[in-house]
């Protein structure tokens, strides 16, 4: 199991021959509150060569639980949340899959990442063997409302995983703008 720092990458399929699917698990720890509390929502965006979402349907989250092609699906089991990726079924036009966590923009005090003590994303094999992990540095992300955690991207015939941890103070709206999503 390798632990990544922001900007580092791991060659998933090159280092694990025969790997055809992975589980991307998201975990976080939020300081409990008696009042309205920050609620984090993971989302995967399937992007084309231009780095933008292929369409509004190329999103996977808790209310849109399977991508059109069935390659990416939302599950919520072992981790706080989990997104499964079948690498062998990802269409050729998908160049990368970006994984975010956003603060749900409820009008009743949505909050930000301030109460989030820790957050991590890990990639595992379908049988639960952890391949790579990224503990997100949150020091500079406290006032943000969304985080681009990591991306899974094609590299020649292989798939790589890159840790990012880039914050969006504009939250989901900023993601939508950057990735050309209509939300």
């Amino acid at each position: 199991m390798a632990s990544l720092v922001a900007g580092a990458n791991a060659a998933l399929t090159a280092e694990n021959p025969g790997l055809t699917s992975v589980m991307v698990g998201f975990s976080w720890d939020i300081i409990p509150s008696r009042g309205p509390q920050t609620e984090l929502v993971p989302i995967a965006v399937l992007c084309g060569d231009d780095g933008k979402a292929l369409s509004d349907d190329h999103l996977v989250f808790f209310n849109q639980i399977v991508s059109d092609d069935g390659s990416v699906s939302f599950a919520s089991e072992a981790d706080d949340e989990e997104i499964d990726v079948d690498l062998s079924r990802i269409p050729a036009e998908v160049a990368k899959i970006a994984f975010f966590v956003y603060v749900d923009p409820d009008v009743r005090g949505p909050g930000d990442f301030s109460p989030v003590r820790s957050a991590s994303v890990k990639v595992s094999t379908p049988d639960g063997r952890e391949l790579v992990r990224f503990d997100v540095p949150l020091a500079e992300a406290r006032s943000t409302r969304a985080l681009l955690l990591a991306e899974l991207y094609r590299h020649r015939d292989d798939w790589k995983f890159r840790a990012l941890g880039q914050g969006y103070s504009s939250g989901l709206a900023g993601i939508a703008s950057d990735f050309r999503i209509d939300v």
Partner: protein, 276 residues
């Protein structure tokens, strides 16, 4: 096989959207080479089952189980035997291997979107949000004086703008009511939309306004004094359907809720655990 000549059941709502089975399921039945199979019938080495197969009735003599792999079956197979289940190690461990493509099964009838409709009323009584509009942020209903909710586990309650509550509140993990009032507006916590079955919003004669995260908004025609309109919300899988419902006559809130089948569930105040 006798034809089913019984009349269509209009009283069962879930049958109204029945969809025709795909041809691929029905087709092979006629071409099936499986004979009525008396006990002596020689079984092929890999029996091909294309129709209804209840498994358990098959005698051992009639159908020797193949050692290597189960029979390919395209029909309904309720048989516990014939090597049916026996998941392989790989299929059991790989959750992604069994991921289906996005379901294309029964779809609700076409309905206008929030982009198409500026006012819900006699001309456009219903609209449907998409999966993103139904799940991000808050659905804000302005002008409502009362709201009622029913969660997926049938917890039901209502709340008025001035704070009169009936039934049981549903509080989400984010410590916000699933449906509640905030600064004069009724709010639905869409992060937990899948906990909501339906809701109802009652106004006081002024138009209701509905606002979504993506700044899409529309109004609800208030009707006339003799036939006021309420806004009903129904979740269908991952999408919300909103409908302007005219009442037969002006009714007190309790009667409106009763008419729409909202029966407040008994609320039990949570008790702190006792220390020994």
């Amino acid at each position: 096989m006798p034809r089913n000549t019984s009349p269509e059941r209009a009283d069962l709502v879930f049958l109204r959207r029945r969809v025709k089975p795909r041809a691929v399921v029905a087709e092979p039945v006629a071409a099936s080479a499986v004979p009525p199979a008396p006990a002596a019938a020689p079984a092929p080495s890999v029996p091909a089952s294309t129709g209804l197969d209840l498994g358990g009735s098959r005698s051992a003599a009639a159908a020797p189980a193949p050692a290597s792999r189960p029979a390919p079956s395209v029909g309904l197979d309720l048989g516990g035997g014939s090597g049916a289940a026996a998941p392989t190690a790989s299929s059991a461990s790989s959750s992604a291997a069994s991921v289906p493509t996005r379901p294309r099964g029964p779809q609700p009838f076409p309905a206008p979107t929030a982009h198409d409709v500026r006012e819900l009323g006699p001309d456009d009584p219903v609209l449907r949000l998409d999966t993103r509009q139904s799940a991000i942020g808050s659905l804000i209903v302005s002008g409502a004086t009362a709201a009622a909710w029913e969660s997926t586990d049938l917890v039901t309650g209502s709340l008025t703008l001035d704070g009169a509550a009936q039934g049981t509140p549903v509080v989400t993990p984010g410590n916000r009511p699933l449906v509640g009032f905030d600064e004069g507006d009724a709010i639905v916590a869409l992060r937990h939309v899948r906990s909501l079955r339906r809701a109802l919003f009652v106004g006081s004669g002024a138009p209701l306004g509905v606002q979504l995260f993506d700044d899409e908004s529309f109004t609800v025609h208030p009707g006339d004094p003799a036939h006021p309109v309420v806004l009903s919300l129904l979740r269908i899988d991952g999408v919300l359907e909103l409908r302007a419902e005219p009442l037969e006559e002006p009714l007190p809130l309790e009667a409106v809720l009763r008419q729409f089948g909202f029966v407040p569930t008994t609320s039990v105040a949570p008790r702190r655990s006792r220390t020994i």
